[in-house]
Symmetry: C2
Subunit: 333 residues, 2 copies
């Protein structure tokens, strides 16, 4: 890794999404046949049917990798973001928010085609979030959307699993990963959701055996990916695949697997989970930030846990307070 002459500490790739958040009861999930804590892709019509049944909502920028980049920026590192919006009102607010968070937005909005992506985020009284995403403009990334020079000169590339869907976009991401690897940069990836892992199992095994250096996911996602029956076996399996694997498990903390070593990290206690949206995204933000600072892995994990704890005590998936301040007052770095 070369920290000199780098464009960014981290460049992220993901679906550029506006979150439409409302608090709903469990009945709402049953009525629409939704799986709690999961993300479902929906077409515009289904999105509308769900929206029409939702209570008054708040709109705020989201998108998994975008949340992670906003988190890294809030921690104090430099970030760029590759994610496509349409040139419509929701697109304008997405671009405003990512730039206002201190992240450079690296893709011009599309002037034709589908509208900006939105995700109906249903937060139940237990703080769990159930997401229904209409991908719209965000689903298609072309190779010309990748600023190859910026990717080649940034220390980390980070990609969310959610965006792995359309062939064109997959090839664009493969290109970005190969540019990063050829330039001797690190490639990181998050498994996003078990349904994504199931859907793209074979291709993701290739990515994990290939370009990916740093992998994020929760226990269920690692079990699905590895095909193992126990998390212990999954840990053994993944340690042969990637340089660093982070396995998160909500309030039970996380495990960092690296060089045959396994480090358990406790979750930071929170008084009340208001909205768990963004917990995984912010864990990745904290961990990657730690790596850019070349902290030891335990410290990286602790920063991840702290950032995740902060974001689940508020509504919305991006930190509303300065994570740099929270880290400096909480951790002894």
């Amino acid at each position: 890794m070369n920290n000199l002459d780098s464009s960014y500490d981290v460049v992220g790739i993901g679906n550029a999404i506006v979150d439409v958040i409302s608090h709903e009861n469990e009945e709402f999930l049953l009525r629409h046949d939704l799986v709690k804590n999961s993300m479902s892709l929906v077409d515009e019509q289904t999105a509308l049917a769900i929206y029409n049944d939702m209570r008054p909502a708040i709109q705020t920028s989201g998108g998994s990798a975008a949340n992670t980049m906003a988190g890294i920026a809030s921690l104090g590192a430099s970030t760029g973001y590759i994610g496509k919006v349409r040139n419509d009102q929701l697109g304008e607010l997405f671009v405003h928010d990512i730039e206002a968070a201190g992240v450079d937005h690296l893709v011009a909005p599309a002037s034709t085609g589908l509208p900006t992506a939105r995700s109906m985020v249903l937060v139940t009284p237990d703080g769990a979030r159930t997401m229904n995403t209409f991908l719209g403009a965000s689903s298609t990334l072309y190779t010309e959307d990748i600023d190859t020079e910026k990717v080649a000169t940034s220390n980390f590339l980070y990609c969310e699993g959610y965006i792995w869907d359309i062939e064109t976009t997959k090839n664009t991401i493969r290109l970005a990963m190969s540019i990063a690897k050829e330039a001797n940069r690190k490639v990181s990836f998050t498994l996003s959701d078990t349904f994504c892992v199931e859907r793209h199992h074979k291709e993701w095994l290739e990515l994990v055996a290939g370009p990916i250096d740093v992998l994020f996911g929760n226990e269920a996602e690692y079990l699905t990916l590895s095909g193992c029956n126990s998390i212990e076996d999954a840990v053994k399996w993944v340690s042969g695949q990637v340089e660093i694997a982070c396995i998160t498990e909500a309030h039970n903390g996380s495990t960092v697997v690296t060089e045959g070593q396994t480090i358990d990290i406790e979750a930071y206690p929170v008084e009340k989970v208001v909205d768990s949206t963004g917990a995984g995204d912010l864990y990745a933000a904290g961990f990657l930030y730690g790596l850019t600072k070349q902290y030891d892995f335990e410290t990286c994990g602790r920063i991840g846990s702290l950032a995740a704890a902060e974001v689940i005590t508020q509504t919305g998936a991006r930190p509303q307070s300065s994570l740099a301040e929270i880290v400096s007052t909480t951790l002894d770095l």
Copy 2:
């Protein structure tokens, strides 16, 4: 008043606005030459300049009279709302939110012309809100936008001062007021902001001497309207003008002036003011709701205070919890 065969308990008229809310420091207000706690009308370009300098924001439906209607619906009465959006993304979310709040939206979105109105709401650490509003589609209401039958058969008409701006719109509102009066309904009005009172002083004195039965405003607004030097003199003056005048003064509570009688209502104590946006709107909601239930004026004022106290402990100007439940557990009605 005829509670039988009525369309709604209250029909509101106002600017249909999406609030774009961020937390900013005092320096931000200085940098943009903004008067704290006030609302300024801005053109699209100025709105953009302010927006570009704002931190990541949340978008949520607002509009003074719309907030009041949402509050009345949350209290359990029936409401309709006359306020115009454009058929764009922000317009869609406004209409979703007002309907999801249980309020009937009574005006079709415009299919041409300016975009849906938005207000940049800057919340400073003291909880004060400073608003910069681009009125867009909401500023022009035509007489054909008024459902005359619904206005004539609803018990109260409520109009915000903010929307009093363009001649066409003023004439539309005058028409709505005259329809209500001819049908023996009550007309209520809020003074909205001292700058509005200054700007439309002569016309509003005519409205107050004419169709208005119930008037809302804060001390500064009543002083400006009456031209009096003391609030005591303003109280004397207004008691000869309208049937009921409510004078709010933030944490000092409110005064209800009626039939030569003056009733002081205490503010409900709140632990911390998060965002004072909507306090006046929700006071009016509570008071009007009380009137529709034919409670005594002190009770009406207490419901107003309680609704206002609830809304200032959250970000955004519409109640996120059921006001009906809060009232039933707090007040002995």
